[in-house]
Amino acid sequence: MATHHEVLQASRAGVFLPRPVSTTGFWSWVTTVDHKRIGIMYFFTSILFFLVGGIEALIIRTQLFAPDLKIVSADTFNQLFTMHGTTMVFLAVMPLSAAFFNYLLPLMLGARDVAFPRLNAFSYWMYLFGGIFINTGWFVNAAPAVGWFGYANLTSTTYTPGLATDYWTLGLQILGIGTLVSGFNFIVTILNMRAPGMSLMKMPVFLWTTLVTSFLIIFSFPSVTVGLILVTFDRLFNTNFFEVAANGDVVLWQHLFWIFGHPEVYILILPAMGIVSEILPTFARKPLFGYSVMVLSTMLIGFLGFGVWSHHMFTVGLGPVVNSIFSLATMAIAIPTGVKIFNWVSTLWGGSIRFKTPLIFALGFIFQFMIGGLSGVMHSSAPSNAQQQDTYFVVAHFHYVLIGGALFALFAGIYYWFPKVTGRLMNEKLGVINFILMFIGFNVTFFPMHFLGLMGMPRRIYTYDAALGLQFWNQVSTVGAFILAAGVTVFLVNFVISLARGEKAAADPWDARTLEWMTSNPPPVYNFAVTPVVSARDEFWARKYEGVAAKESAAALEEAKKHGIHIPGNSYFPIIMAAGITVFCYGLLYSGALAIAGLAVTILSFFGWAFEGVGGTIIYPEGDAR
């Protein structure tokens, strides 16, 4: 619909850069604070890094096709699995989830943007620059090679001299700050910016999973931040935190890492669970079964998730008391997780299930996540864990929950919300082919890894003894990896084709249940001309089918048209500050002067940000804006 807008000049007192005012063009994206644009940037960047991580995986699988291959050297292989894990966790899955958080949160809440739009942009730039920083290693023959969880004291300068490990520690810090900050942002947004009438128990479940994920982030990231600080200080300033000769305890690193690392895996899966919880009701045409129980389970998983970290350390020798406690706690967390699966199945039961691509991927999620969860239960028993830990059985487990679970759910989300973002539908036929190839490829790649682990194949080995009998299943797995890659390729093709000439979509193409489907495709920059007033869970469905009246007043709409809607102004400082921090980190590696320059830019941009004033645009919706 047509709008006209006027631009407010930000107050300029004591400031270095005015708030930019254009809404189109390259610089408007660089300085954007609009959650929808930021979501789109997260999306494309995460797909790019996903492909990088995928190529790393294909090289790994090729090298392991047969024993004693020399496709890559031992050192290169060690870099490949380190970067593959780091990339997929921090640069692909988490940011892809963030793409959904960013785009959808305000829309589902009935809000105009997140609580702190500039901080939101800052989080994105920290992600992009952190991803570039950590991958710089490839170009200077210093890619990290310590595994994605970098155990001390392999990370000391004695055993990994050079810059590689520093690229890893500092890169993760940059990424960590960005993530931490978005945790604060999303919690405040969800708690404070809900539409009138939307009590917490009326929120879509996706918002609950986002809320709990964000709490997990803000409580778990500090632990790894401290761990990484200790390693960095050991490497750069000769402290003794993990220095064996000075009586340092390398197990301390493991505790600090896994106190973060275990909640991290829930950070990776909860958003996906939220997406599935939105998709199943839409395509079964029934509400999510057991909403309160689902909310409670999500909170329980979050809470218990902080009490199981030592199950990653069952073989460290902490003793039977510690191991038993963590075994029991780990088994306990299986209960709310299993309950979720039963509730999803019950959502489908008695429904009228339409097999569109989003639903098909969501079904794949349930099936594969169940397998991954069950192998997780197998790991929870500490005595038998000693035969599973650090083998391909664990590799199978986490790929089942992360790819079979999280990634499939994220793909379901992409197919589902694509029409809202772009105004077009993704092609159904290609979608089904995409799913079939990914489903077959994924299972052929990773199911055999259960066997390989129990046949005695440890993790992180660049080759294996021909006498171990591991070749057959490795070959099967490698073939599967290429089928999976073909599936991903079909996805990319579908994405591009649909973007260019996909079938045009109505605002509510799936006959869905939540507020975002009330807006146009794509939503206007202000999301809602009048903030919706909510009285039911699944408010949109209630308005369509249960006789719940729209409660926004006509007067409010007239008011919006007359006085306009204020849109937060763009700003240079999020990207500049992110750049300053990144330059500071490069400086720590290469040049003290560079480090000081980076620090100066960071501090100055902090002040610029604080004092640049409000700025912004007033937009006047016209016509039959909603």
């Binding site: 050192d75 155990y151 055993y159 340092g248 489908l348 069950l374 197998m378 006498a467």
Partner: protein, 340 residues
């Protein structure tokens, strides 16, 4: 209650099937299989593994079938009305919370019980061994016997071996699947584990915690021998007499080892002047089945290849290229293979 009792009854029968299956058909070709236990520790851990595996498979079949049935039975047909908007069912929620709790209890009880029992090894008739992890090889010391060896751990059949684990550098993990689950080898920490080899044979193992460039190449063997053979080996190792070379080639090799070849700087061979402690003890090298920590069969050709260029076989190995002549390599090979 009935369900858990039923499970317990079937577990021994069923859990013996799987390992039996593997043991009979697979273990010879899969020497690091977890399902071919050759000792009580691996057997107990394997039994627990089988229990959890069957529980997992059972749940998968039940829930998977329900899911499959659901999506077939309730697929949309044209003209379907909007289905009844059911929001939940408290009874169901209780049922499917309680049943998993019961199932998990079935797993939890033996988990805790075995966790404690495996942590207290039998105390009679125990042979103590210190295993020390290095990048990328294994040192084994028998403190009561005064013997040091490397990479191939000889043990008598049927005796409790109490293994203490230390690291000289980074974290490793000692894993011989057919004998016991792994235990990490952590610097500044002494971990302990135990096992019994119930049959004679060669058991394959390898390091199971990423430890750097050649982590994949840090392999080992446990060689279980009947008691008399083991005792003979011990006696041989304990009587340290000066080595008398059997022929000129071996003599030349010994001379190289002790002086110009610089081998003595890193390696020890009992009965010579070589007493280096940086690399593996080679006193019984000739009797080992593998070299380079379980990487290659211990043949003259492989040994010569190793001496020519250790890095080509084991990237990052601390042993440098010594630029030995072929004649020297031949002599050293003869010498090293003479060491029993």
């Amino acid at each position: 209650m009935v369900r858990s009792a039923k499970l317990k009854r079937h577990v021994p029968i069923v859990s013996s099937l799987l390992p039996l299956l593997y043991a009979s058909t697979v273990h010879a070709q899969v020497p690091q299989s977890v399902f071919a236990p050759a000792g009580p520790v691996a057997r107990t851990q394997g039994g627990l593994l089988s229990l959890t595996l069957y529980v997992a498979i059972g749940i998968f079949i039940v829930v998977g079938s329900i899911l499959f049935y659901t999506i077939i039975r309730f697929r949309a047909k044209p003209g379907d009305p909007i289905p009844k908007q059911i929001h939940g069912n408290t009874t169901l929620e209780v049922i499917w919370t309680v049943i998993p709790i019961i199932i998990l209890t079935v797993i939890a009880v033996p988990t805790v019980r075995h966790g404690f029992s495996l942590a207290s090894p039998p105390t009679d008739d125990v042979l103590e061994v210190r295993a020390i992890g290095h990048q990328w090889w294994w040192e084994f010391e028998y403190p009561e016997l005064g013997i040091v060896t490397a990479n191939e751990l000889r043990v008598p059949v049927g005796q409790v071996i109490y293994l203490t684990l230390e690291s000289k550098d980074v974290i490793h993990s000692f894993w011989v699947p057919r004998l016991a689950g792994k235990m990490d080898v952590v610097p500044n920490r002494v971990n302990a584990m135990w096992f019994v080899a119930e049959e004679a044979g060669i058991f394959y193992g390898q390091c199971a915690e990423f430890c750097g460039t050649s982590h994949a190449n840090m392999r080992l063997r446990v060689v279980a021998q009947p008691a008399d053979e083991f005792n003979a080996w011990v006696a041989g190792r304990q009587s340290v007499e000066a080595i008398v070379p059997a022929n000129d080639l071996v003599a030349r090799g010994k001379e190289l080892f002790e002086s110009t070849g610089t081998c003595f700087a890193c390696h020890t061979v009992d009965g010579t002047t070589a007493a280096g402690k940086v690399g593996p003890d080679l006193s019984d090298f000739g009797g080992r089945t593998t070299l380079a920590a379980g990487m290659l069969p211990n043949t003259p050709e492989n040994l010569a290849a190793w001496l020519r260029d250790p890095q080509a076989i084991k990237p990052g190995a601390l042993m440098p290229r010594l630029n030995l002549s072929e004649a020297d390599i031949e002599a050293l090979t003869a010498f090293l293979h003479s060491l029993m």
